[in-house]
């Protein structure tokens, strides 16, 4: 009986030939990640163990991205805590303001997470790295602390749902729309505790940025991890970034899946998720005309260069609607600089956008674009829970960068083809 890519990576990290869903494993981890919100709690737990060092200072990554650059004094205390800890323990991959990025854009860019890796991060969107063919999952701060001490973590081998995408991807439809369609289909707990494996001819030609977007939102269906088997597109991205060897895994033809779900993408439209759950999905044409106050383009979901290229392509030469605040967050400094050199940033600023240094900022209602009572945002982020971006009586709609950019121009939710 064959194994899935998820089962193979877990087995390899537990020194096992074979594993099956439901088994509990103790696994070696390749990378442990934390941020300015989760790492302070992890550090407090780690320090209870009175250890002189972390298991491997090269494999602990700490990124101040959530409330950084510090939004207030308390946040400054939290980033100081992780900065001091990183210095004390020689954490090579602590990324300071000016060099940092949104963690899930930054780690792949820096070649810190690689195909075949087992990664845990004290951030739920750690599942993003599955786009590279890694097993990568979000955990809490105490798990981070334990892994910093031991280099290990326990896992229950998940069942896998296989998602097969076929047909021809229409213009303006991308990874965000595919994953929102899946979440709309199976619900916010449709893949609870499970691995989500994305396959099929559409995935085979999908760019790495679109793949990151899909794996990123596996958690919004309750998934333990999202994963795409590495191929030429993956290896082209990894090439030159990796500083250590990696291993490519693929599911066996006779691997066992708990479900196989197929999606014909040919007649798809861009998808929008309505408040207050990512599963409340509609086609963009069904919600066109919905008024909005703010548009956010960026985040670990859609803050990569291709996302900015699409947005700038729509916005260039036009003006942001007078009643709209458009806020753009490039995912990393490298992405920011590339977007600057390619003219995307100039196009967006000329149109009336505010462009920010990388931060999770408004996505989680932290800072840099909080909503007042009764306000409504359209965002390329990943969650639209009640109060997610500000006041509990504000609303967040989720979409692709194309829909967000088009809507920033018109002031209401708008299909991209009506503007571009």
């Amino acid at each position: 009986m064959g194994m899935t890519i998820t089962e193979k990576i877990l087995a390899a990290h537990a020194d096992r030939q074979e594993v099956r869903p439901g088994e509990l494993l103790n696994c070696k981890v390749d990378v442990v990640l934390g941020n300015d919100i989760t790492a302070p709690v992890a550090i407090e737990e780690f320090e209870k163990l009175n250890m002189d060092q972390v298991f491997d200072p090269n494999r602990v990554v700490i990124v101040p991205d959530h409330f950084a650059p510090n939004k207030d004094i308390k946040s400054a205390e939290q980033t100081k805590r992780i900065r001091d800890f990183s210095r004390k323990h020689g954490i090579v991959n602590y990324f300071e303001i000016g060099r940092m990025g949104i963690e899930h854009c930054l780690l792949p860019q820096e070649g810190l997470v690689l195909p075949g890796d087992l990664v845990i991060g004290a951030d739920s969107h750690t599942c993003t790295y599955g786009a590279l063919g890694a097993f990568s999952t979000g955990v809490g701060s105490t798990d981070m602390a334990a892994a910093m001490a031991t280099g290990e973590a326990w896992f229950k081998v998940p069942e896998t749902i296989k998602f097969v995408f076929y047909g021809e991807l229409p213009p303006w439809v991308g990874g965000k729309d595919l994953i929102l369609r899946v979440i709309g289909d199976i619900g916010v707990d449709g893949a609870r505790y499970m691995a989500m494996e994305f396959t099929g001819p559409v995935i085979d030609t999908l760019s790495i940025d679109n793949r990151f977007t899909m794996a990123n939102m596996a958690i919004e269906a309750g998934g333990k991890n999202g994963i795409i088997a590495p191929d030429r597109i993956t290896l082209d991205y990894v090439q030159g970034r990796n500083k250590r060897p990696y291993k490519v895994y693929a599911s066996d033809p006779d691997a066992v899946y708990s479900q196989i779900r197929e999606y014909d993408v040919t007649n798809m439209e861009p998808i929008v998720a309505l408040p207050h759950l990512p599963e409340n999905t509609k086609k963009v044409s069904e919600v066109a005309g919905t008024s909005i106050d703010q548009v956010v383009i960026g985040s670990c979901t859609n803050g990569r260069i291709e996302d900015l290229a699409i947005a700038a392509g729509i916005i260039k030469g036009k003006k942001v609607h007078p009643e709209i605040r458009l806020i753009v967050f490039p995912g990393t400094q490298e992405i920011y600089l590339e977007a600057l050199r390619k003219g995307y940033i100039e196009a967006m600023i000329e149109a009336g956008a505010a462009v920010s240094t990388p931060t999770c900022g408004p996505c989680l209602g932290g800072h840099m674009g909080i909503l007042a009572k009764g306000e409504r945002a359209l965002a390329t982020t990943n969650r639209n829970f009640k109060g997610r971006m500000g006041d509990p009586a504000s609303e967040v709609y989720l979409s692709s960068p194309a829909v967000a950019a088009a809507s920033a121009i018109t002031g209401k939710i708008t299909p991209p083809w009506e503007v571009a």
Partner: protein
């Protein structure tokens, strides 16, 4: 471990932003987090919850972010136990790791209401609703996780490994 407590009932898909909104995550002090526990799901909860009370919720409790501040806030608010139809994965794991007792019990949720008094044996997974007289059997923890809970959480469990 036995618990007796009064129920506060919540619906489906209570996310971690509802349990502890991100606007309060510039601290990890449990008592400060407790002051805002469940605030966006029920603004009155932090002021009315009492030591030993029990949260009962429908499916997918704790979905969303990995913030351990969520179970920390619940525990520090004095809640003795959370019972849900189902839990989101990271919340479940975090609760075990910090020693917040939780039970998955799909059968009992519809028949328990806010204000009911429950008597719960955590080890056996037995839930008795003293307000209706009905009893239910929840899935007890697997041995491995019970082992972590018995130590008082993952850090104490790990302590022996790293000695």
């Amino acid at each position: 471990m036995n618990f007796v407590g009064k129920v506060y009932k919540f619906g489906s898909d209570i996310d971690t932003d509802a349990i502890i909104p991100a606007r309060y995550l510039n601290t990890s002090d449990p008592q400060e987090l407790a002051r805002h526990c469940m605030e966006d799901a029920d603004p009155n909860f932090p002021s009315v919850v009492q030591q030993g009370d029990i949260i009962v919720a429908d499916k997918n409790f704790g979905c969303g972010s990995s913030r351990e501040h969520a179970p920390i806030a619940i525990k520090a608010a004095g809640v003795s136990l959370v019972i849900a139809r189902s839990f989101a994965r990271i919340f479940y794991r975090n609760s075990v790791n910090i020693g917040l007792p939780i039970l998955e019990c799909p059968d009992c949720i519809d028949e328990i209401q806010t204000g009911d008094r429950l008597e719960v044996n955590l080890i056996k997974g037995e839930i008795k609703n003293n307000s209706t007289g009905k009893t239910y059997q929840a899935q007890p923890f697997p041995d491995f996780m019970q082992g972590i809970m018995d130590k008082g959480g993952l850090i104490e469990y790990v302590r022996e490994k790293v000695k």
